[in-house]
Amino acid sequence: MKRLFALLLAVCMCLGIAACGSDAEKSEVTDYDPTAVTPEPELRYTDFTGALLGGGELTLSDYEGKVILLNFWATWCGPCVNEMPAFPRLLEKYGDDLAIIAVDLQEDSETVADFIAEKGYDFPVVLDADGAIGSLYPTDGIPYTVVIAPDGTISDTSLGAGTAEVMIEEYSAMIDAALG
């Protein structure tokens, strides 16, 4: 029995060490501290190209020069869905100064398409089917939004969300700060 217990303990330790090792490879880019309330100054976004819902591709750097709200979400995430009505209203408010890109994490295109069609949203939605884009940013918690200033620096981040009304106020403050 003592040997069995020792064996079990050894297995647990190996698994723990293995888990530590695999985490060390994660996210070599956008290496800001995701747990900080505000990001460090002068940190730039990580560019990507992703598949657009409805066909074609989107490259993030094509939107440089505007304030970009880069939002990571999923249809099964309550707060993500709750805050989304804020996005069309923000686009209406800021016009060409603002771009909103919603990256859907690891869902099939049909699910996302049905959701977007039902809600009638027309901002670009990127399908991150394999999680490759999500892994460029610290997206273990969603909804996660990165606010990118026109000069390409990350001016703010937001984890979680309240209602759309609350988020319009919060995002407006972040966008205004990014616009300077």
């Binding site: 999923a74 994490l105 869902e107 918690g141 969603i142």
Partner: protein
């Protein structure tokens, strides 16, 4: 005792069938996608 054995066999067959069908339908990926993204609502942080 025989009834219990039959019931166990039926449940085992149902369980295996459900599991396999679920895997074929891609439900592993759906379960995975929820487990690897922290939905704040789910842990009471909202």
């Amino acid at each position: 005792m025989r009834k219990k054995t039959v019931l166990r066999l039926v449940l085992a067959a149902a369980g295996v069938t459900a599991l396999v069908l679920g895997l074929v339908q891609g439900q592993y990926g759906e379960t995975l996608s929820k487990a690897v993204y922290l939905c704040l609502e789910c842990v009471g942080l909202g």
